[in-house]
């Protein structure tokens, strides 16, 4: 009960604060903050454009809701049985009907043009500098680097009991996937079993991994840092426990990491079967 009371006070205050502080860089990039009410800050050009487009849409959405609410309030105030004892008999007004068909159509066209532009922009990249292959597995990700000698490794959740200080619960993995910043990277996604979905909110990337298919998308990460995501297609009992951790580093650091990774993961031969047994045990600990 006390908690509820606290909430009644806290929620509006926090909400007002977070709105006042705006949507900029107050949140640490890469993952959600407590009481977050907005998108995570954009880390790729696609996400930047998504945010831009969403700002336009939000204005339209809020105006429509406010407009309808205002009319309803006026109706409730003006046309209740006390204020208006005799109902009118109007049932048609052609001009009005044409307007409320035409104006929404016009608004939709305003929405559709930037929407389709964004869609085509986000689809594929023409001049990729490197490729990352992502394979979904129950319940971990396998990453391979075909342009860097084809080494591969699995990325498995770290159970709560083994988390080190500062590592976020349910988002930390044993081997984060390392990518160079400011580089056009083609992502090729597939699955070894059921459908999963590789999603990193800060990148504006979310695409199914489907067995027997290769889906393609791309990223160009603005800034070095840690970016997190979660599997976004129901894939069985441990669906909540196959996080994505992308470590974006400079190109120079990436080259160093590749050298080391080639040695570290030399004996990891896309080990789906071997790792399955390990992942079969529910990955979480409370």
């Amino acid at each position: 009960m006390l908690r509820i009371l606290k909430l009644i006070v806290l929620v509006p205050v926090l909400a007002a604060l977070s709105l006042m502080l705006g949507t900029g860089d107050v949140f640490a990039a890469g993952r959600a903050e407590p009481w977050q009410m907005w998108f995570q800050p954009a880390a790729t050009p696609v996400m930047e454009r998504i945010l831009e487009f969403h700002n336009l849409l939000l204005i339209i959405e809020v105006s429509i809701v406010v407009f309808v609410l205002a009319i309803m309030c006026y109706i409730i105030f003006r046309f209740n049985a006390k204020s208006n004892p005799v109902p009118s008999k109007t049932t048609h007004n052609t001009l009005l009907e044409v307007i409320w068909t035409g104006v929404p159509l016009f608004i939709l066209i305003i929405i559709a043009i930037p929407s389709l532009k964004l869609l085509y922009y986000a689809d594929k990249v023409q001049d990729a500098e490197m490729t990352l292959k992502v394979t979904g597995n129950q319940w971990y990700w396998n990453y391979s680097y075909p342009d860097h000698g084809g080494f591969a490794f699995d990325s498995i959740i770290v159970p709560n009991a083994e988390l080190k200080k500062g590592q976020p619960r349910l988002l930390t993995v044993d081997n984060p996937v390392v990518l160079p910043a400011r580089t056009n990277i083609r992502l090729l996604l597939t699955s070894a079993d059921v459908i999963h979905n590789w999603a990193v909110p800060a990148f504006g990337v979310k695409l199914d991994t489907v067995g027997g298919r290769i889906n393609e998308t791309w990223v160009n990460i603005n800034k070095e840092g840690d970016y997190y995501g979660m599997c976004s297609e129901l894939c069985g009992v441990n669906h909540a426990f196959m996080p994505i951790h992308v470590k974006a580093v400079s190109k120079a650091d990436f080259a160093i990491w590749v050298k080391k990774a080639k040695k570290d993961f030399a004996d990891v031969e896309v080990p789906a079967a071997a790792k399955l047994a390990q992942a079969d045990a529910p990955a979480v600990a409370r």
Binding site: I50, E61, F79, A112, L234
Partner: protein, 556 residues
């Protein structure tokens, strides 16, 4: 019979109604009356009872989901399951069952089977449905289907596939055991029930209208059920085909959805959503019909732009069949395909806008009684607009990347069709319970129910927009700690919603037990449709002599 043909005038004498019943004095009583029923009112009542029972189960499931999500971590100590993997599967079964039950066994039976059966014949001046025995089979198939689904939930871990049942997760390798098979059979029965019901409604509405009640004078609820019946007739067979393919994939070695053997898992998604998108209109279009009746009645005005309203529903139904792949924006479809589905999906905003504005215009200039059904109708408009604008956002494939499979989508569809539909069901319940039971609901409690429910669902679902934007995926039993705040708020909302639901069941009990008797037309001058010309409760047989509508104004 003269007074039964008179629209919106004094009620026929009580004795008159009884006379009818006595004329058919040998109608069955006891369990035979229900099991063998061919009476549209009795069958409608059974549908409503089934819906109420299912609502308890489906509502309890959503309550358990919110309990699990109230705090970070796995709360399986709430349950009898002590094995974590079994509990995680059970959570997925809850998510699956909640979806199935609410769609197939709560909303559809209440609106189509319940209110549709009860009021389509009354509203068009027909003595009963066209095929009364088929009507009986429709109901009992659905009852059997519900039993099968509940058995499935407790068989070998249950189906943890989500209501979308995507293979490969739903195939024999990843869901061995009979749970998914039982679920498929359950859906087959529910589908057969729906198709039979649809055929019955179409035939009834086309052939059994009172003289003079031409199609362009039918009440909008009848229009809504007609459009819905066509959607069912065209969508369910596609689902049935897909289910059968999945069943043979699982049991007889076919490979329709198995990529390794030349099949395609995305084919399932195409087929499922070719059914699934019309399905959401199957849920919301009857709601449109109820809301139109209620708003017109309590504004004491005919519906504004009647033809526009009727054909907006027809258009929504038609467009509903050509937008399905907006559920597949992240499945890896070709970009031109997505561009088409963006454009087609956006178009839906036009007819739905027409509906919203026409309701507002109907209220404009009215002399509005804000009784409980009208409160729910106003709540419906608010929820539908809220969910509508987020729907316009989600239609854009480019931006849907950010929203797909997050709680933003959960908030969107609960606003626009799930909770909105429930508001329409409550509006219909309070509007027609006097006609069905002959008794007045407790007015003050009903208002309390409205406000509790309205505040409750908004507290549940509004914060889910924030969770979705911040990136929280759907269908997970545990989440990163950053999402704890709004999840807790959402769960608090569900406690209020649950309490309001219990209050609703108390209101039903109070109404039936001690509600005062109501007159044939309890709503006065605004209630102009034919159901208000027969006694309350409506006698066992009504409209045996067809009311003559040739001289009347359009029954809007």
């Amino acid at each position: 019979m003269a007074n039964e043909t008179t629209v919106a005038e004094a009620a026929p004498a009580k004795a008159h109604g009884n006379g009818h019943e006595n004329g058919h004095g040998h109608h069955p009583t006891g369990w035979r009356r229900w099991l063998f029923s061919t009476n549209h009112k009795d069958i409608g009542t059974m549908y409503i009872v089934l819906s109420l029972v299912a609502a308890l189960v489906g509502g309890a499931m959503s309550f358990l989901i919110r309990l699990e999500l109230a705090e970070p971590g796995i709360q399986y100590n709430l349950f009898w399951l002590d094995n974590e993997a079994a509990y995680l599967q059970f959570y997925n079964v809850l998510v699956t069952g909640h979806g199935f039950i609410m769609v197939f066994f709560v909303v559809m039976p209440a609106m189509i089977g319940g209110f549709g059966n009860w009021f389509v014949p009354l509203l068009i001046g027909a003595p009963d449905m066209a095929f009364p025995r088929m009507n009986n089979i429709s109901f009992w198939l659905l009852a059997a289907s519900l039993v099968l689904l509940l058995i499935a939930a407790f068989t070998q871990g249950g189906p943890g596939t989500g209501w979308t049942v995507y293979p490969p997760l739903s195939n024999a390798e990843f869901h061995p055991g009979a749970a998914v098979d039982l679920g498929i059979l359950s859906l087959h029965l529910a589908g057969a029930s729906s198709v039979l019901g649809a055929v019955n409604f179409i035939t009834t509405i086309f052939n059994m209208r009172a003289p003079g009640l031409v199609i362009h004078r039918m009440p909008l609820f009848v229009w809504a059920i007609l459009v819905t019946a066509f959607l069912l007739l065209l969508a369910i067979p596609v689902l049935a085909g897909a289910l059968t393919m999945l069943l043979t994939d699982r049991n007889f070695g076919t490979a329709f959805f198995d990529a390794a053997r030349g099949g395609d898992p995305v084919l399932w998604q195409q087929l499922f959503w070719f059914f699934g998108h019309p399905e959401v209109y199957i849920i919301i279009i009857p709601a449109f019909g109820i809301i139109s009746q209620v708003i017109s009645t309590f504004s004491k005005k005919p519906i504004f732009g009647y033809l526009g309203m009727a054909y907006a529903m027809v258009f929504i139904g038609f467009v509903g069949f050509i937008v399905w792949a907006h559920h597949l924006y992240t499945s890896g479809l070709d970009v031109d395909t997505r561009a088409y589905f963006v454009s087609a999906t956006l178009i839906i905003a036009v007819p739905t806008g027409i509906k919203i504005f026409s309701w507002l215009a109907t209220m404009w200039g009215g002399s509005i009684d804000f009784r409980t059904p009208m409160l729910f109708a106003c709540g419906f408009i608010f929820l539908f607009v809220m969910g509508g604008v987020t729907g316009v956002a989600l239609a854009n494939a480019g931006m849907d990347i950010a929203f797909h499979d997050t709680y933003f989508v959960v908030a969107h569809f609960h606003y626009v069709m799930a909770i909105a539909a429930v508001f329409a069901m409550f509006a219909g319940f309070y509007y027609w319970i006097g006609k069905m039971s002959g008794r007045q609901y407790p007015r003050v409690l009903a208002r309390v129910h409205f406000w509790m429910f309205f505040i409750g669902v908004n507290v549940v679902f509004f914060p889910q927009h924030f969770l979705g934007m911040a990136g929280m995926p759907r269908r997970i039993p545990d989440y990163p700690d950053a999402y704890a705040g709004w999840n807790y708020v959402s769960s608090v909302g569900s406690y209020l919603t649950t309490a309001s639901t219990l209050l609703f069941f108390y209101i039903i009990w109070r109404t039936l037990r001690s509600g005062e008797k109501v007159a044939a037309n309890q709503w006065g001058e605004g209630a102009t449709t034919l159901e208000w010309t027969v006694d309350s409760p409506a006698p066992f047989h009504t409209h045996e002599d067809l009311p003559d509508m040739r001289e009347k104004q359009p029954a809007e």
